[in-house]
């Protein structure tokens, strides 16, 4: 039974999509129920996975490995791709996050009215692809899921989005496509360079990420072989490959200056999709860096950690500054996402246990908090179809429990202690400052982000919630307080972020072994590769 848990959790939504396909489009209500059922089943499977998972070890667990593609190309060797799944301390929290956020997003999709069938089928496919890319350990499989995610997202924004949805969705598509192409280039390079150690005689070109992470598996004098003496331009091919991956995943993350798709996509996407976009899609970028770029090119990672750290800090501050300037609530939250994902980069660049653990923690925590923030923005948008901050004033008196949740959300996001964001940020800061790879000034500059974060959130609160009540938009819209459905979603997210903020140990139990193993391996392997040119 437990051997197929991961497959089950990936393909449950796909199965549900299949079921949904056969329900006539008139029966709108049932699509939600099917989607909800799929999410609940996933939750149940997730609990079983947690029970099966051994916390102490940093190794990959619950492995599923099947031959998928095995193509004999004669003198080119054998193309081998596997159906290789597994979870470790990095992916399991993210899978859990994904299942949770998907559940929330399903509940939040309750109010979708337009073309329900198409929406939920795309939604389920998206669900499948996201979870799949978190557990896939074969590059080709990962890439497949990664690309698979793009299309439903494109349509979900492009069809169910706001007024400028076409622009936003095309922008999103172009950006991510660019990233995908860069990743594809590296993937092909790796495919040409890696040999399965189990092969005898003939080269077996494998997409296995674990195989790729071991520099001894590279074929001598192949493009990405660490020992080959050639360089492309000023840098070794491996450095280029790392940079390509960094940009490719960085677009997803998003990092400045490749982030401008995010505000538009967020602003235009319907609420549940914004939630998924912020809470899960951005994490794939960070996940990709940790799963692919860093372990495979450790020496490049060490070499470029200054760049990664710098981009992280720039993202933190630049995102925060932009958030100050934005007049649209969703845009503000989107830029705050940019700012917060900068911490992921900074922590990752430090390559210390604290930093990496902080990065992973930040991904999970930002997933929860940003989901909450977008739900909050969605609440207001549902009422009035107006997101301009300046159009509101004094909402605190009108919508009391909404205000309470906004306070929780905003303060959680600006890193108030007691919420999960604080733990993550402090760990990132400690790691980044301590790291021998990064200059201290990076971490010190990054603290500015905290001040600015307080600035834009408090300013937004002040403008929207305090003062005398008025609403400048459409006067026919009624601003009523939270409905019980919204209440349920928000309170569960608030409790989770509070719980992880006050007592982070349960989550850290999973992350710790991974972070430690990751930091040590990358540093050790990288330094070995640097020393033996």
């Amino acid at each position: 039974m437990h051997a197929y848990l991961l497959s089950l959790i990936i393909f449950t939504p796909l199965l549900a999509a299949l079921v949904a396909l056969f329900i006539p489009a008139r029966a709108g209500r049932y699509f939600r129920l099917v989607t909800l059922a799929a999410s609940l089943i996933q939750l149940a499977i997730l609990i079983i996975i947690f029970l099966q998972y051994q916390r102490g070890s940093g190794a990959i667990q619950l492995i599923e490995k099947q031959n998928w593609i095995s193509l004999d190309l004669g003198s080119w060797g054998i193309l081998k791709a596997e159906y290789f799944l597994g979870v470790d301390g990095l992916s399991l929290p993210l899978v859990a996050l994904a299942v949770l956020v998907m559940l929330i997003a399903t509940v939040s999709s309750w109010s979708i009215e337009k073309n329900v069938k198409g929406y939920f089928i795309l939604f389920l496919i998206l669900n499948c692809a996201i979870i799949g890319s978190f557990v896939a350990l074969d590059f080709l499989l990962f890439y497949l899921f990664f690309e698979f995610m793009l299309l439903p997202m494109f349509f979900l924004i492009g069809i169910w989005g706001g007024p400028r949805r076409e622009y936003a969705s095309i922008k999103f598509f172009l950006y991510t496509l660019l990233g995908s192409i860069l990743i594809l280039i590296v993937m092909i390079g790796l495919y040409l360079s890696v040999n399965d150690p189990a092969s005898s005689g003939q080269f077996v070109h494998s997409f296995n990420l674990v195989t790729m992470s071991d520099p001894t598996n590279f074929i001598s004098f192949s493009v990405l072989d660490p020992n080959n003496p050639w360089s492309i331009g000023p840098l070794h091919a491996r450095m280029w490959a790392f940079l390509l991956l960094f940009i490719g995943f960085g677009i997803k993350l998003p990092m400045v200056p490749l982030h401008t798709w995010l505000p538009d996509a967020h602003v235009e996407a319907p609420t549940p999709i914004s939630v998924i976009l912020a809470a899960l899609l951005l994490k794939i970028g960070g996940y990709g860096l940790m799963r692919i770029a860093y372990p495979i090119f450790p020496e490049a990672a060490i070499n470029f950690s200054w760049l990664v750290g710098l981009v992280g800090v720039v993202s933190i501050i630049y995102g925060a500054l932009n958030a100050i300037a934005s007049k649209d609530l969703k845009r503000l939250i989107a830029y705050s996402s940019v700012s917060h994902m900068g911490f992921v980069l900074l922590g990752l660049a430090s390559l210390t246990t604290e930093g990496v653990a902080g990065s992973v923690y930040q991904m999970v925590s930002h997933g929860i908090i940003s989901a909450m923030l977008f739900l909050l923005a969605g609440v207001l948008y549902d009422r009035t179809h107006d997101r301009l901050i300046t159009n509101y004033s004094g909402l605190a008196t009108k919508m009391k429990s909404y205000f309470a949740f906004v306070l929780i959300g905003f303060f959680a996001s600006l890193g108030l202690p007691g919420f999960s964001g604080f733990i993550a940020e402090i760990m990132v800061f400690l790691g980044a400052f301590k790291s021998a790879l990064l200059h201290e000034s990076l971490a010190i500059t990054a603290t500015l982000g905290l001040v600015l974060g307080a600035g834009y959130y408090l300013w937004a609160i002040q403008r929207m919630f305090f003062g005398p009540f008025y609403f400048k938009g459409d006067a026919t819209k009624i601003l009523y307080d939270l409905t019980s459905r919204e209440y349920l979603m928000l309170i569960s997210l608030a409790l989770i972020t509070l719980g992880f903020g006050i007592y982070p140990q349960p989550l850290l139990d999973f992350i710790n072994p991974f972070a430690r193993h990751f930091a040590e391996t990358v540093i050790a392997t990288g330094q070995r590769l640097i020393l033996t040119p």
Binding site: L174, P263, I324, E354, G394, L416, I426, F429, G455
Partner: protein, 633 residues
């Protein structure tokens, strides 16, 4: 001990969970829980042993690094515990009267409880990170409480300003934490304080932490948030912005005093004295009751910080202790005055600013109890003999004197400035008392003013009594009393001359003040009133550039990055159009030409082709022949 710590949180949670209908329950539960907490704190205080008591609590660990949530009680924290719980209890009681009828009572008491909880957290935590956690949390509750009346734009602005200024300080604190983590590898205060050797960057680490103190304790150059914070409810000002939170900085300094290197201490002392002088001068010319009190708080905090910088941490703690009580009393009685005047105003529908001292006067007849309390605590603030303030200030001066005699000449400037501050303190305190209670009634003549209700009067009286000398020492001229013994066991250097000098200095100041205000003189120096234009400078130097930068980055995003993207896309689209044109006219054209040709050819061949089977056969055979010929060749 844990009970003391957690009860305020319970109060907060109860307040948060109750619905509006049961809001009145809170006014009972909240003070009651605080009372229990206070009694617990007193028990802890009196059962204090020489060895610090530690409660080990696990928190989390990353890799091999363990972060514990240990709580510790030692002499300093026990005193702080008492201060916090007592003042908090009294303020809770007072608030039930002051905030009666406020629709957001629930939130108010929740935040008050939460504040007390987090303040106790700072006091008890034995881990720098944990202190930082609570440090931020008090900032949050302060934000919420200052902005309690969130309809008032000024209050909201002040709240934001307070939080952001605190955040700036906290960023410094965070950097300090990072330095300590990177170089000492632990946040456990037990380990940190015990280690003897200096770790690298220690001076900068401690200075960075001092940044946090500057933010929280409103030191130069970040002190302007505190006067603005007076927009919050007065009990809050008493609790947070006079007695406890702002004193947390001083507490923290004395808690980690052992970490400070001499160079760092010099900086601390300098900042402290600058703050003290500047804010004392500002206090002299303010017209708002609460702002005067706020500036006086800053000034007193500056003195405490100076004392710590001078190495007299115990004296600073002593002053903190006394200051907490008399300043809370001052605020509460000022609050009482404001409260009753407000109510009187509402009855008669007159309107004037009740907080402006120029509108007040002669209230001693109408509000005798309040006047009594205000006078007592004011005397303590001014440092008149037989009041607690005199004793603790004496301790500070002694400490400063010792420090100055040991070091270089510039230290004497500090000492002289401290005396100057003490002089000005007397002036503005007396000014406040004079304008409010003495002389003729001005705008208040027509008002029917009665004393505040008992729940408000009682705390004021208790606090007023607590500002007499005996709560810290038996001998009114020797600060070396029982409280100081706890802080500093053993014989302490003390010379009576200092007490005498200090006493006569204060009396001289009193005389000056009396002469000055009897003639109705008033200071009106613009630069003091505007607090040296610091706010203006901040606006010019930070707020505006940040906003400009923000709109600049926004422009970068929209115009440059998106612009590049758009121009890329436009280029592509244009290219596509060109290709489209090319397609249409060149390629399609040629195809069309071919088509036209073949059309001509077709219509030619049509004559012998369309539908005629035999011609099909002919053409196929013709093709076959051609093929065969080609084969043949």
């Amino acid at each position: 001990m844990l009970m003391v710590f957690l009860l305020p949180l319970v109060s907060c949670v109860i307040s948060f969970l109750l619905t509006d209908r049961y809001a009145w329950v809170i006014t009972l539960t909240a003070p009651l829980l605080q009372l229990i907490s206070m009694i617990g704190a007193l028990i802890v205080f009196f059962s204090l042993s020489a060895e610090p008591y530690t409660l080990a609590l696990p928190w989390f660990h990353i890799g091999e690094f363990i972060f514990s949530a240990n709580l510790q009680i030692n002499a300093v924290s026990a005193i702080m515990l008492v201060v916090v719980t007592v003042v908090s209890f009294l303020v809770h009681v007072y608030s039930t009267g002051y905030m009666a009828g406020d629709e957001n009572n629930r939130r108010y008491f929740a935040m008050l409880g939460f504040f007390t909880f987090s303040m106790l957290g700072i006091v008890l935590a034995d881990n720098l990170l944990l202190i930082f956690v609570f440090w931020e949390l008090v900032g949050f509750s302060s934000y919420m409480l200052i902005g309690h009346w969130n309809q008032k734009p000024a209050a909201v602005n002040a709240a934001r300003k307070a939080f952001i200024f605190n955040r700036i300080g906290d960023a410094g604190f965070l950097i300090g934490l990072m330095i300590i983590w990177a170089n000492a590898g632990t946040f456990e205060l037990r380990n940190l304080l015990l280690q003897t050797e200096v770790f690298s960057w220690q001076t900068s680490a401690t200075l960075c932490i001092f940044c946090g103190v500057i933010g929280k304790s409103a030191q130069f150059p970040l002190f302007t948030w505190l006067p603005d914070a007076m927009e919050g409810p007065t009990p809050v000002s008493a609790l947070i912005h006079a007695a406890t939170m702002v004193a947390a900085g001083v507490f923290l300094l004395s808690r980690i005093f052992a970490l400070y290197t001499p160079e760092a201490l010099d900086v601390v002392a300098l900042i402290g004295i600058i703050t003290a002088v500047l804010s004392a001068l500002s206090a002299l010319v303010q017209t708002d009751i609460k702002k005067i009190l706020a500036y006086s708080t800053i000034s007193q905090l500056g003195l405490m910080v100076t004392a710590i910088g001078a190495g007299a941490a115990d004296a600073a703690m002593l002053h903190l202790f006394t200051h907490a009580f008399f300043k809370a009393c001052l605020f509460l009685s000022a609050g009482a005055v404001i409260h009753v005047l407000h109510q009187a105003q509402q009855q008669t529908h007159t309107h004037f600013d009740v907080q402006d001292i120029r509108n007040l006067g002669g209230l001693r007849k109408k509000l005798p109890a309040t006047f009594f309390a205000f006078a007592l605590s004011g005397s303590a603030l001014a440092g008149i003999p037989f009041f607690s303030g005199f004793v603790s200030k004496d301790a500070i001066f002694t400490g400063l004197w010792n420090w100055a005699t040991m070091g270089t000449s510039w230290r004497w400037i500090v000492v002289v400035s401290a005396f100057l501050v003490s002089f000005i303190t007397v002036l503005y305190t007396f000014r406040l008392v004079w304008f409010m209670f003495m002389g003729e009634e001005k705008s208040t003549q027509a008002l029917d003013v009665t004393e505040a209700p008992l729940v408000m009067r009682l705390p004021i009286i208790i606090l007023a009594v607590a500002s007499l000398w005996f709560i810290i020492t038996i001998n009114p001229v020797d600060f070396n009393g029982w409280l100081f013994q706890i802080l500093h066991p053993g014989k302490y250097f003390h010379f009576n001359l200092m007490a005498a000098v200090s006493a006569s200095w204060v009396l001289l100041a009193l005389g000056t003040a009396h002469r000055m205000y009897r003639t109705g003189k008033n200071f009106n120096v613009k630069i003091f009133q505007r607090a040296f234009y610091l706010d203006f400078i901040y606006q010019l130097l930070f707020e505006k550039p940040v906003l400009a930068l923000a709109s600049f980055t926004d422009r970068i995003d929209r115009h440059w990055i998106d612009g590049v993207l758009h121009s890329g896309v436009y280029a592509q689209v244009t290219l596509a159009h060109i290709i489209g044109w090319f397609d249409k006219w060149i390629i399609d054209g040629s195809v069309n030409a071919v088509a036209a040709t073949s059309n001509g050819l077709g219509s030619f061949t049509r004559s012998f082709q369309g539908g005629k089977i035999q011609l099909y056969i002919f053409w196929s055979i013709f093709g076959l022949i051609i093929f065969l010929i080609w084969m043949l060749l």
